[in-house]
Symmetry: C2
């Protein structure tokens, strides 16, 4: 249950660093407001035995401000804030958020793109891997105050899910599903 939401101007952010970018473009002086944000990794997880994608459902305060619900359905994901390779960070997030211990070799890169190009422009690298119950070694659910619920979405419901707006989701997840359908001719 979410209660007692209060919104105040941010004085000095630990995670959000607003910046003013000044530059000269073809001889003209211009400026732009932006936010420095971390790069990230995201992983499309397919569970072979359940014939389902594994998604993480979580409460996102910024989404709450826009739709008064705030729960999103996302790919397993994490920010790049430690000296590990992107694939190693992906492997850690799969264990922390979803509880599956996968080998680095089994994690396949799909591609890299940019998000929020208007004001953040951070890079997200998208991966894919398959899991089964033999790899389920932890509870998942995230670390610290993260309250992540792992949701199984049956493959045969995934196409309808993409266009069902009652589930708040990201375009990265929607692209990842389409990549899987296309690759497997579904």
């Amino acid at each position: 249950m979410i209660e007692n939401i209060q919104i105040e101007p941010l004085k000095s952010g630990k995670f959000i660093k607003p910046v003013h970018i000044k530059y000269r473009h073809d001889g003209k002086d211009l400026s732009w407001e932006a936010v420095k944000a971390h790069d990230s990794v995201a992983v499309l997880l397919y569970h072979r035995e359940y014939e389902s994608f594994l998604l993480v459902k979580q409460f996102r305060p910024p989404v709450y401000l826009n739709n008064s619900d705030g729960y999103t359905y996302e790919l397993c994901a994490g920010i790049v804030d430690k000296p590990l390779s992107l694939k190693e960070i992906a492997k850690e997030e799969i264990l922390e958020e979803c509880g599956y211990d996968v080998s680095l070799d089994s994690i396949e890169k799909i591609t890299t793109f940019y998000t929020s190009v208007g004001f953040a422009g951070s890079k997200q690298t998208l991966y894919f891997t398959e899991v089964d119950e033999s790899m389920h070694t932890e509870d998942g659910g995230g670390i610290g105050v993260e309250k992540i619920e792992v949701v199984k979405l049956p493959l045969k419901e995934a196409k309808d899910f993409i266009y069902n707006e009652s589930y708040a989701k990201t375009p990265g997840l929607m692209f990842a599903f389409m990549w899987f359908f296309s690759k497997n001719k579904i």
Copy 2:
């Protein structure tokens, strides 16, 4: 040509409003840093005679900070900051950015999703429309200081384009392409 880039902390933003969200979740007091960002519309434009998608290439300062190039390939898009319907804003952006005058009726909604759910959570509504040269009534290129180049991407090159990381692009564009391929069984 981009010269003389300077980055300073943002004192008081006109567009970027950092906020501190405090809330109680299942009895626990939590807080989150976020940015209030405008909702937006984006349009996948298919040019029948050229058998090409029309994209907008532009310089994005936040992307420049991450890849030292800063040019992105995006769907025609705009923020929701005026008292018009989303479809009317989409129609205006198609004219301003790309120079094509399309009828409201021809603009088809694909779906709505959330972007930057970790720190902004704004909503983007995705549309599709087809154009031909008879609708090309303006130069395009954006208004004011916008320096937008309209790029034709032949349909037969679009699949390779999605996975070519030398073109900085968004997951919304990548999903829109996949939607088109799927709909047309390409």
